[in-house]
């Protein structure tokens, strides 16, 4: 029966923000739900659950992924980074600092996804042009800011790394 298959439990091991977790999860459990509700890491948000808005973006084995489009079991053995792992204690990551300095967030719901996408963007292209930043972040939706200050914040970090 299909039902018993997708609710079947499987044990997974993941490393999230440097911490090892071993958990038993139903095979159909979304990675996003696993991170948020099983691990209690609620900085990762769900805005659409169909892979468009980007609010649930995290880094998995060095690549940005949408945690709403993956099952938790697909992350078995993976190294994950969420927003909670970005700062060094209370010392903000340069992108967090730049978002603050540039008023790059309003309601904050999409911010986590933007930060993780920006981390990925700058990892791959430390000196992006404005157009490259816009394209790099075009898979994340924000309804509050109109994007301009988010783009400025990413530009500011790119400029810092240049100097």
């Amino acid at each position: 029966m299909a039902k018993t298959q997708f609710t079947e439990l499987q044990t997974i091991r993941v490393r999230v923000n440097g911490h090892e977790y071993e958990r038993e999860v139903p095979v159909r459990r979304l990675l996003a739900d696993f991170i948020r509700h099983d691990l209690g890491l609620t900085a990762t948000h769900l805005g659409c659950e169909h892979g468009v808005c980007g609010a649930c973006t995290i880094i998995m084995d060095g690549e940005s992924v949408r945690s709403c489009l993956l099952f938790a079991v697909q992350a078995d053995g993976a190294e994950l980074q969420t927003l909670e792992g970005l700062a060094d204690g209370d010392e903000m990551h340069p992108l967090q600092q730049a978002f603050w300095d540039n008023h790059a967030l309003q309601c904050g719901f999409c911010t986590s996804g933007f930060l993780m996408s920006a981390v990925d963007l700058l990892n791959k292209n430390p000196q992006p042009s404005e157009e490259e930043i816009r394209h790099g972040l075009s898979g994340n939706l924000c309804r509050c800011t109109g994007y301009a200050n988010i783009i400025k914040a990413v530009q500011a970090v790119a400029e810092q790394s240049q100097s």
Binding site: T7, P26, R28, R29, R36, H37, G40, L41, T42, A43, H45, L46, G47, C48, E49, H50, V52, C53, A55, T82, L83, E84, L86, A87, D90, E91, M92, Q96, Q97, F99, W100, D101, N102, H103, L105, Q106, C107, G108, F109, C110, T111, S112, L115, I133, R134, H135, S138, G139, N140, L141, C142, R143, C144, T145, G146, Y147, A148, N149, I150, I151
Partner: protein, 810 residues
Amino acid sequence: MASSQGGKRVNVSSISPRVEDTFTLSGKMVGAQVRRVEDPRVLLGKTQYVDDLDLPNSLALAFVRSPYAHARIVSTDAAAAQNQPGVQLVLTGADIAEAIKPLRVEYEPAKAPTHKPCDWPVLAQDKVRFVGEAAAVVVATDRYAAEDAAGLIDVEYEPLEPVSDVEQALAADAPLVHEEWGDNVMQTLQAEIGDVAKAFQEADCVVSERLTTGRHMALPMETRGCVASFEPATDTLTVWSSTQVPHVLRSHIALVLDFPEHHIRVVAPDVGGGFGQKGHLFPEEAVAAYLARRLGRPVKWIEDRRENLSASLHAKQQAVQAELAVRQDGTILGIRGRFVGDVGAYSEYPWGSAFEAGHAASSMPGPYKTPAFSFEAVSVATNKTTIGVYRGVGLPIGVLTMERLMDLAAQKLGLDPAEIRLRNMIRKEEHPYTTIIGAEVESGSHRESLQKALDILGYQERRAEQQRARTQGRYLGIGIGCYLEGTAPSSAAFASMGLNLGGYESATVRMDVAGKVTVLVGTHSHGQSHETTLAQVAADELGVSLADVKIIEGDTNAVPYGMGTWGSRSAVTGGGAISRASQKLRTKMLRIASRMTEVPDDDLELAEGMIRRKADATPLMPIKELAHRILVQAGSLPPDEEPGLDATAHYEPPPSTHANATHIALVEVDSDTGKVTLLRYVVVEDCGTIINPTVVDGQIQGGVAQGIGTALYEHALYDENGQFLTGTLMDYLIPTAIDVPQVEIGHIESPSPHTPHGIKGVGEGGAIAPPAAIANAVADALAPFEVRVDAIPLTPERVLGWIEQHKAAA
């Protein structure tokens, strides 16, 4: 980032990157460009939105929703669902008919004689009226189990003929959305002010236009949701909701559940955007609150995006017919407008969906001196999702209509579009100016904002550029949109419409023994930066640093009864209530300080954490010492002084607090594809005294982005059967980082003479004029094709269709 503090310029980011530095700035705070207090917790991932709340022993809800636009419910078979593992309870409309009252918007009949109320059952009773309407609810141990079971509930429907658009709804033999009405008209508002017939007779030039706007929606990135919990020991129902209006929610949950309001606590935690959509009590919230009490266990409802797209609230689908009568020199003689709103199946609770069409109609004259005006606003029910307030409500439609007419008149008279506007705008020296609809415009900068926006754009150079481009087969267009917005509506404004809702706001300001200030205020920030801006107001009123002020909102057990955040109201009304409460507190502090220092209280002030002599700024006593004396060493107080250091004020805003702005769009239209590209976008806004320029710029940029969505992309589509077609974010498109230019923003400050600090509202402003400015720009770009821009959104398909129509006719 530079920070201005009473003339001093401080580079905030160079002080230190540490979190607490924003809080230690001192000096005059209203007007200062300080970083947001709320940001560190967001950036560090420490916010708590409603779905982040996982209460022990919690259950999850899933709603069964109608696949039909209009159908009779024949039967519901929930047996299979009830036997599913984890399922606790399944309820249908029949099960809760007695327990939860329907949501019913009532206006005062004397003020709104044509308004027809309707019941919005929290779960459908005998029939469903839109695709997505909740017909049953499943309660299960988690959301996966609840959704599995919801899929097994078999509702048998007998489809009825749907009312799929306004034209059909108004036909004589139309099927009825609400049978008891006898037709499909929710409300008709009519007014004639001045002699409109004479104005049109005497006009040298009359222009008219029919316009349609697309059905679209607020689409906050966080969907709707709530957690409800009942504590039998204290008979207390607590609802954490992603809401803009915690007290409104509390009162109306009490009403529909018939449960005493003083046993209900509503908490709005961090809320991921609202834009009007979350300013309501929804059926799902009422059901969740009921179930928590019935089951004695916490329940959580988090809607998915498809539900948000199809079953929350839509907005702003109207059909407009309007005419403008002018003299040869462009002087306005009269305006006529008929606005027909497609309000969907029910009425947004508790405001009423008929609000929008009237708001659109009455906004037409805007900043233009208009001697005669008549309008009709008709709100028509259809089998679609209900219409609700969304940023700017009717204004974007009224402004689009008027601004299109102004361009058409200018074109016909051979006037420049800027010139015809300048000739008709209220002049600075005419304030206070009473408009044709009876609003007193207390101050403003209509002509000045237009002139400044033209200067920022380099208007003449762009006109020359446009000419050059045309010779190369490129189609550039410049479009202007100007508006006047009555922000922060007062209680009386609602009462005049027959709507029993307050426009006032409440605040309690408390000082503790260390001289630090806690502000409890009834507004609610879901992105608007209140923890910063309202703290700036309190800091100035009480002479303390920003670090010494904490703003608390959103918990009805903590904050005094207030109306929440919507309608560009919070800076005016929340700020006003905080100012008034602070003044009460200050008066008491200075009176007691006067008796201690033997300096008359009129000669004392609170500044920089000190009681100072006003004349020479001599510090006499730290505020914290005075606070300690009043709160702790109360035995040494003069016997006629009450102890205590808190004060509450309820602030009713003035009948009119008018903000204004000019938007100018520079677009390029690709004549081969119909794609509209925004090359530049200029806004010159005037929201009176600015509390925090960074926050105002952020509101403008974000509002413009939403307005761009309205103008170019967003359309919640139904087919002729009332089937909803845009149920994902791949079908319903909002602007992305590629689509929104950096808005070039200029400011003019015309303080209100009526509000504390001269503050006016700004939250909605950015979203009001983009449809007008962009539609005018596209019409201007396509002038060689003689295109009539009479509908938004301006999708490539639509624009290309107009171009090809012209080519076919030529």
